[in-house]
């Protein structure tokens, strides 16, 4: 007796692509490394948002974190650049082709130490880039030295204690002009995914600081960037919900306790307030909340600041609609008459 086994149709997104189409190479990071979890969420977010893989550029600096673009979305062009300088590479790439989406992955060392100058200017420019810091408080790749995001008093495995204050990359980003700033935790699947999806819908600089424990050098008792510490001390500012523009958006909002942001593409970022006074469109509120929680020894997560109005860097430059990179010669080399005109004026 013959039985026909019908394979169920694989699940696909709105482009007809499977989640497999968003995968990358096999990770070479340590098992349990927070960075791997983040790569997984990136894959989910890109898949669920239906981003065409060929329309995305992945950029990174140097570090364990900066390696991770190799582990998701193989079908996208990727540029693993030099330590701390990914912002400039991303800027150049996006100027060359502003029609692309761009996602940058950095580490806390890559961003807050060697790259802090470029980071600051990236935020100022509001370049349309999703900038992710995979933040473990240490230099993973060089085997566990403190980074500038390590909290005062946090201890290395070797017993060394950090006695310098941490740089809060989110507070910096808010002050400097990034238009979407949030913090999450690699272990918080739901929050991170929602945040990443909203990031994809946003059009200026998205700065996400994602706490991502380094299981090899910084996941022990006393480390403020460990799984345990995060589970005990994470305080979410709001519950992040995200509704892409292509889904049914007629949802009932829980009036009074939610804040709804309409993203550039018509998607909705819905923040269910846990804090009564929290308003993600105020820089002052955002920085205040960050500092207050920090003083209490807590780590605030959530989306702290969103501005969908500020023009992005590529808007400010008033570029032609097509990518500069592939403009035809007729549009980039002025005519013979122009040269003659200039020469005559120089005579």
């Amino acid at each position: 007796m013959a039985t026909t086994v019908t394979k169920p149709n694989p699940k696909v997104n709105r482009l007809g692509l499977q989640v497999l189409d968003y995968r990358g190479g096999k990770t070479t990071l340590c098992a349990g490394c927070g960075h791997n979890a983040i790569s997984e969420r990136i894959i989910d977010a890109l898949y669920e948002m239906g981003v065409q893989p060929e329309r995305l550029m992945k950029l990174s600096g140097i570090g364990c974190s900066s390696k991770s673009p190799a582990y998701f979305l193989s079908r996208a062009h990727s540029f693993n650049s030099v330590h701390g300088r990914m912002p400039s590479v991303a800027t150049g790439a996006l100027l060359a082709n502003k029609t692309m989406k761009a996602l940058g992955v950095s580490g806390d060392g890559d961003t807050a130490s060697i790259g802090v100058g470029q980071f600051i200017h990236l935020m100022r420019r509001n370049l349309p880039l999703i900038y992710i810091i995979e933040d473990n408080g240490v230099y993973g790749l060089t085997k566990g030295q403190f980074s500038a995001t390590a909290d005062i008093g946090s201890k290395l495995k070797t017993g060394v204690i950090n006695d310098l204050p941490a740089i809060d990359t989110c507070a910096l980003a808010v002050q400097l002009g990034a238009t979407f700033v949030g913090r999450s935790f690699s272990g918080d699947k739901k929050q991170l995914l929602a945040m990443l999806k909203a990031a994809i819908a946003h059009q200026g600089t998205v700065m996400l600081d994602i706490i991502s424990p380094c299981v090899t050098f910084n996941d022990h008792e006393g480390s403020t960037k460990s799984y345990k510490y995060m589970q005990e001390h994470e305080e979410a500012i709001s519950e992040v919900g995200f509704v892409p523009h292509f889904e049914d958006i007629s949802i009932e909002y829980d009036a009074g306790s939610t804040y709804d942001v309409t993203m550039h593409d018509g998607s909705h970022l819905r923040l269910r307030k846990l804090h009564e006074d929290f308003n993600p469109t105020s820089r002052v509120t955002a920085v205040k909340a960050l500092m207050e929680t920090h003083e209490r020894g807590e780590v605030l997560t959530g989306v702290f600041y969103v501005d969908t109005q500020k023009p992005s860097f590529t808007d400010l430059l008033n570029l032609v609609d097509e990518p500069l990179a592939t403009l035809p010669e007729e549009r980039t080399r002025p005519s013979k008459q122009v040269l003659q005109e200039i020469m005559t004026r120089l005579q």
Partner: protein, 626 residues
């Protein structure tokens, strides 16, 4: 010290101090006129607005059809420090710096004494009459002029007087050297094209100076101009503007920079041109310019843009080059195009930021750690600034590597005569880029594979709509498929291919310019702005010493075979350059077989002032033991 650096005590140069008993008869009656062959120097302070006056002088001489060149020697300062502008009229067309000043306009009280002391015997000096410079030199023709009084008479507005005073000296000089006043007026109206009132006021000042000189000064020096037709159809432009034009006509789309003297005016002038000629009817730009936070970011943006397929460039000078080292190595290793202009100034460190040198050769040739080497183009004229800017973009995209254009302060910031630039004959060479149709046709793509045997692989651009288009760019070890590797043979293969690619570059870069009779045993090698002095020096050697020399001007690194041939066919080859360490000679030595390397000798000039012919001639005579 004025720019007539006789005070530097270079060997063999007559001293400028008046020597008792050897006084020349400086009365005009007995001296033969010196026509269209002399050097005017205007000594001022920076910020006094003398630039317009100086360009009017330069342009007027040019307008009389006489070959002319100008050099601005300025301090690294905004206002109040001594500045010298020299204008050389040369019927022979020599444009190198000439040390001896023939006509001095001493407008800076602070340096006036030094300025007049540095003049050769028989020179002329124009100065504010209250200065009484005559006391220092009785072998110099002195023309005291009551500048302040004359200025006050033509310029009632006190705050403009400082500026207008400059035009008075234009008038005085015009009369003394027989400048055609029509040419002066044309030059002035051109300078103040859109400012009728300013033009009128300045013209009045020029006339006042001219009239004063006619009435109150008696011509006693021999320096005069006569109309020629050697500048017909020529243009005047600075090297940085020429480079900017070259970049625009090369279709540059992404420009990044961090301001630094003497390179800033490349991008500043480029911005002006782009705004004028590269904005489409709907107001949108076909270019992006970013003032970056530093040179690391500037070059990072260049490589990001080059990677994504744009024609991208930055312009900098020595300190910026040092900062760009790491990224440059990435560009070389990951094979990313980009164009970097280095307008060289004097190093090391901050050095002399407003003085000229050719001293970045070695650091750029091998910029960045590991086995790295770069293509360098070495323009020797404003026209080559224009042409090599274009060649640089073609080469960068064709070879997929950063390409450097090494100009210098002298070429970049001074005005030079030139034939008008020619419109590019060839279409842009965008290099080996595969489209999605190509990928479908080929069925496979390996980013770093040498498919054509020239060691230049194919690339794809982000956004290419094909599932096989993407690849992973990295500065770490990679194989032909751009996958991470630490395998010894993968690394070695890659490094050897990059070496072969450099050999391909050797066949593509601009060949040298060779002037040889085939009879001389002595060869000269120079590059960039040293060419001006060498050209004049060769004439001096021939005329004064009967020595014929062959000459090769290098225009690029890696060296093409002509360079090798030239060295091997001469007994002695002098490499003449503007740095202390004989950097070009060192590069040549690394490239030449040992039996040829021993033929090389060195002539170096490194005091921050542009090299002059006399220094070259004297040094060659010394070394040749003639």
């Amino acid at each position: 010290m004025a720019t007539g650096d006789v005070a530097l005590g270079s060997a063999g140069v007559e001293t400028s101090q008046p020597t008792p008993g050897t006084k020349e008869d400086i009365s005009g009656a007995t001296r033969k006129p010196v026509i269209n062959d002399f050097n005017i120097q205007v000594a001022t302070v920076n910020g006094s607005g003398s630039q317009s006056a100086n360009s009017v002088l330069l342009r007027s001489i040019f307008g009389m059809g006489i070959p002319v060149s100008g050099k601005n020697l300025f301090p690294s300062n905004i206002a109040g420090l001594p500045t010298w502008f020299t204008i050389r009229a040369s019927k022979h067309g020599y444009v190198a710096r000439k040390k001896e000043i023939d006509v001095l306009v001493a407008m800076n009280a602070e340096t006036a004494k030094e300025d007049i002391l540095s003049l050769p015997s028989g020179a002329a000096a124009i100065y504010e009459d209250s200065q009484n410079l005559r006391q220092y030199r009785d072998d110099v023709v002195c023309y005291p002029v009551p500048f302040d009084k004359l200025t006050a008479a033509v310029c009632p507005e006190a705050k403009l007087r400082k500026l207008v005073k400059n035009m008075i000296y234009v008038g005085v000089v015009a009369k003394l050297i027989s400048l055609d006043m029509k040419a002066v007026e044309t030059a002035l109206r051109r300078q103040f094209a859109k400012k009728q009132k300013a033009a009128d006021l300045n013209w009045a000042a020029i006339e006042a100076g001219y009239n004063y000189a006619s009435e109150s000064l008696t011509k006693q020096d021999p320096f005069v101009l006569e109309r020629m037709h050697a500048t017909d159809g020529k243009i005047i432009i600075d090297g940085n503007a020429a480079a900017a034009l070259g970049a625009m006509f090369a279709g540059v789309t992404v420009v990044t920079w961090y301001p630094i003297t003497p390179s800033s005016s490349v991008v500043e002038q480029l911005i002006d041109y782009l705004k004028k000629y590269r904005v489409e009817p709907d107001g949108k730009a076909t270019f992006a310019v970013v003032q970056a936070e530093d040179e690391l970011a500037a070059v990072g943006m260049v490589l990001g843009a080059g990677w994504a397929g744009a024609r991208s460039m930055t312009a900098t000078s020595g300190p910026g080059i040092s900062l760009m080292a790491e990224f440059t190595g990435l560009g070389y290793f990951a094979e990313i195009p980009g164009v970097i202009f280095d307008i060289q100034r004097v190093g090391p460190s901050t050095g002399l930021p407003t003085r000229t040198a050719q001293a970045d050769l070695l650091s750029i040739a091998y910029l960045s750690h590991g086995d790295t080497k770069h293509v360098m183009l070495l323009p020797g004229s404003v026209r080559e600034c224009f042409e090599f800017a274009q060649a640089a973009f073609d080469l960068a995209e064709h070879l997929q590597t950063p390409v450097f254009v090494l100009s210098d302060l002298d070429l970049g910031m001074n005005n030079w005569m030139s034939e008008p630039f020619e419109y590019p004959k060839k279409p842009l060479n965008r290099g080996k880029v595969l489209t999605s149709e190509d990928l479908t046709r080929l069925g496979e793509f390996a980013r770093y594979k040498d498919v054509d045997g020239d060691a230049i692989p194919y690339r794809t651009l982000p956004g290419t709509d094909h599932p096989q288009a993407s690849y992973f760019t990295r500065g770490s070890g990679h194989n032909e498929k751009a996958l991470y590797t630490e395998r010894p043979e993968d690394y070695q293969n890659l490094m050897e291919r990059l070496n072969r690619k450099f050999e391909t570059a050797r066949t593509l870069v601009p060949a040298p310019v060779v002037l040889q009779t085939g009879k001389s045993k002595v060869g000269l090698i120079a590059f960039g702005t040293t060419d001006f002095a060498v050209t004049e020096s060769r004439d001096q050697l021939k005329k004064e010493y009967g020595v014929e020399t062959d000459y090769l001007r290098i225009r690029a690194f890696p060296f093409t075979h002509e360079v090798h041939d030239f060295v091997s066919s001469h007994d002695r080859v002098y490499v003449i350059e503007q740095n202390r360490d004989a950097q070009m000679l060192s590069l040549l030595k690394l490239d030449l077989p040992a039996e040829d390397a021993v033929r090389l000798r060195s002539v170096r000039h490194f005091n921050g002032l542009p090299i002059d012919a006399r220094s070259v001639t004297d040094e060659l005579i010394l070394q040749e033991e003639i």
